[in-house]
């Protein structure tokens, strides 16, 4: 088989991705896709790591609380700013008390206790839409400096 000389750079929107989260391997995939998107969007190395870590925790929450769901990675543009939006969506039990879930150290799953407040610190904005029995959608955005 002939060797390809160079890997072509993907078109701008090719790096946006929807990653289904069903196994721990999917967490690694979501992280990798997020890192590529952050890099292509012009974020610094440090910011890339912050975004990737946030994606990892959000994907982990999906597995832990809902057993499955999806992470969507999108570019966003707002007036003069551009950035990345991470949408973590599941059809799990929902978060009963969102305010409480945002308190530092609070977690209903005994194993990993940091979760959402930490994710908010890693990103710039975070919004939670949740309904008991209907599932949860968390939208986290990071803007380029």
């Amino acid at each position: 088989m002939p060797r390809t000389a160079k890997v072509s750079v993907p078109y701008r929107d090719d790096v946006e991705a929807d990653v289904n989260i069903r196994t721990d391997g999917d967490i690694v995939t979501a992280r990798r896709r997020g890192r590529i998107l952050a890099e292509q969007s012009g974020f610094s190395t440090t910011e890339q790591v912050l975004i990737t870590t946030a994606i990892s925790e959000l994907a982990r929450n999906i597995l832990l609380y809902a057993r499955g769901g999806m992470i969507a990675l999108k570019r966003v543009v707002n007036h003069e700013r551009s950035g990345i939006m991470v949408v973590a969506k599941d059809q799990g039990p929902g978060i009963a008390d969102v305010e409480k879930a945002m308190e530092p150290g609070y977690s209903t799953s005994s194993s990993l206790g940091l979760g959402l407040p930490g994710v908010k610190r890693l990103m710039d904005e975070m919004r939670i839409e949740t309904q008991a029995g209907q599932g949860t959608t968390i939208i986290a955005t990071k803007w380029r400096r």
Binding site: D24, G25, R35, V49, T53, S56, L112, G118, L122
Partner: protein
């Protein structure tokens, strides 16, 4: 993806070379704990230089390794946490409590040597 564990004198060195699935990390933890006994190692270095993300699960597993190895009578040191990764861990609120860390492999080895010397002094000598 299995992480190679090398024996270097009385120490074991596990160098993580790529992003790991949770299951791989758990497998590494168990392999280290087993090998410490089998090879009678006095110290373990886990090199995480290649990890670009250390999240809550990795932190907990690394911390478990260190505590389990202590119960087996040996020392553990985590080396190579990258500056960006350290920043992300702090932002996320993750702490490696009671776990020794060092800048790199070299510093990790001198930490283990120093620990060994302390240990020797602590053993009462017969007259």
């Amino acid at each position: 993806m299995e992480v190679p564990i090398l024996k270097q004198g009385p120490y074991l060195i596990a160098t993580i070379q790529t992003a790991l699935h949770d299951a791989d990390l758990v497998q590494l933890r168990d392999a280290i704990v087993e090998k410490v006994g089998k090879l009678r190692a006095k110290g373990v270095i886990v090199d995480v230089t290649a990890l670009d993300v250390i999240d809550s699960f990795s932190t907990r597993t690394l911390s478990d390794v260190a505590h389990m190895i202590r119960l087996r009578g040996a020392n553990t040191v985590i080396v190579g946490i990258q500056p960006e990764v350290a920043f992300a861990m702090v932002q996320l609120g993750l702490v490696l409590e009671d776990v020794a860390t060092a800048l790199d492999l070299e510093e990790g080895l001198s930490y283990l040597h120093a620990k060994d010397r302390q240990g020797e002094r602590a053993v009462p000598r017969r007259r």
